[in-house]
Amino acid sequence: MQEKNISANNFEQCQKCSLCETVCPVMANNPDYGGPKRSGPDGERYRLKNGIFFDDSLKYCLNCKRCEVACPSGVRIADLIQQARIDFNKKSPKLRDMMLASTDQMGPLASTFAPIVNFSLGLGPVKSVLDATIGIDRHRTMPKYASKTFVHWFKKNAAAAQDGFKKHISYFHGCYANYNYPQLAKDFVAVMNAFGYGVHLMDGERCCGVAKIANGMIPAATRDAKINMGAFRKSIAEGRDIVTVSTTCTMTLLEEYPELLKVDNDDVKNHVSLVEQFLYKAIASGEVKPVWKEGWKARAAYHCPCHQERLGLGIFTTELLKMIPGMELTELESNCCGIAGTYGFKKENYAVSQKIGKPLFDDIKAAAPEFVACECETCKWQIEMSTGVPVKNPVSILAEALDLEKTSELNRP
């Protein structure tokens, strides 16, 4: 019996050319995974007939979306796979998966006890226990939690000054900048302020939901998505467009909401930009003017994260970084780092995760840059852990390279 006969993700366009298979980082490293063509458009033909054809190996998909970038026929292969997991995987997520995925529930808890959490998660015995009990791989360096969240810092130290600016934006900070790495968010505020933009937070901002989607917590992700879109609409109505820093959050907000969660964002899309895209356009149009620090020099290698590759906005990052005098930028060959959010933390995926990342790690070691420039937070964990080379977000690089005082004088209305 055919249960459905219309496909939303145009799998009929698949011409079986197999280009997607040549770029799939999992297929090359995990023989248990059938690959994007078989799991996506091929499997979909069977699943449309009957759900019993759903194959559990779809869980190995990283959702890196490289297959979609490679597809010459525009098939949304990764969406087909994620959608099948949503529709047919009836197993409820494990405790570990729920913990890894609930970044905005675990965040406040971990931040409150940050010194203890950071200390314990660094201990060998604790790691062994986590490995044995819930399956978080012992080799993984756990992300650090900040004892004061960004939101806490912002309300206390920065919020009051923001209304004094002439132009305004809303900042979607995401979980990582808030709980794990507030310095990134502070750099963002410093840079935007220097360019003359007041930064505002959106009341009730929720996690974008990417980790919940990956771990099968769809109702929770959908609820968060609706709250976020409400907050975005309110901000837009108040004349403030939304600027984001995380490429994965941005891909989720712009593409996964309508495709996977069926949360409409058509009216919101054009008001959301990645910070590099926003600043490139502002500088290129002459809207704002940067003043660079004299004598600042760096030799960096740019790693384009998978979800940035999918968004297709990496060109704004490289063009923006190339504007910095004294920046010697090489572009690394586009490869997945292997961590894919919560994927690489799981015991069953650790070995594959490191294997996937190896070509990138080798490239980084060969390029021997002072640091890697990269927009993605989980790539940062993976690259720093696996190569020892520090990873800096382009926003933090700008905060370093800009003469913030002179820039803010020049852009003061």
């Binding site: 280009l19 490679a70 010459p72 999918r310 297709g312 063009e319």
Partner: protein, 192 residues
């Protein structure tokens, strides 16, 4: 965003021309829909300092007074790619450089003049192994520049399979593809 040359399409012809132009000191951007380009040519182009927009797609452009001024892409929104010269390397039917309807064959991006026989029955031979005429269809040019409504777009150079008379089925196909890329490279170097 401004470049010296924007190359539309990242196949054999597009990447070959792009890499040579980038190496000659011109600032090049390749818009490559899908990953039709191979690893070696992609690496060489990037190593030469070229800009690759991978997985993006040119959706149209602005033509004025016989010149292509800029192109739009799917991903870059309101940011256009401007250039002095453009190379059209979008291939034939599979990559949708050409589109065949029941009664016509057309070039979908700019509506360039395509040389084809209006009598559909002549397009193909029912014998699978026979030469297929539809593979010879392609964009018309004058001194290497694309023609639209009989007039040249002087800074738009079609190369590779999108061109009339070049077919991947021919025995010397790759030679013809590379020769067309080389001709465009020389023409663009001559302009700059």
């Amino acid at each position: 965003m401004r470049f010296d040359v924007v190359i539309i399409g990242g196949g054999l012809a597009g990447m070959t021309a792009a890499t040579e132009l980038q190496r000659s000191g011109l600032r090049c951007a390749v818009v490559a829909e899908g990953l039709s380009l191979n690893n070696v040519s992609r690496k060489e182009f990037k190593a030469a300092g070229g800009t690759l927009l991978q997985g993006d797609k040119v959706t149209g452009g602005v033509i004025k007074d016989g010149r292509l001024l800029c192109v739009n892409t799917q991903k870059l929104g309101d940011v256009v790619l401007e250039a002095d010269s453009f190379i059209l390397a979008t291939g034939k039917y599979f990559s949708r450089g050409l589109v065949a309807d029941m009664d016509k064959v057309y070039e979908p991006l700019f509506g360039l003049d395509v040389d084809y026989d209006p009598d559909r029955s002549t397009w193909f031979d029912r014998s699978f192994a026979a030469p297929q005429k539809f593979l010879e269809f392609g964009v018309n040019t004058q001194d290497g520049a694309a023609l639209k409504d009989g007039e040249p777009i002087v800074n738009l150079y079609p190369v590779g399979e999108v061109l009339k008379g070049i077919s991947s089925a021919g025995s010397d196909a790759s030679r013809a593809i590379l020769d067309s890329a080389e001709a465009a490279v020389q023409a663009i170097k001559g302009r700059n």
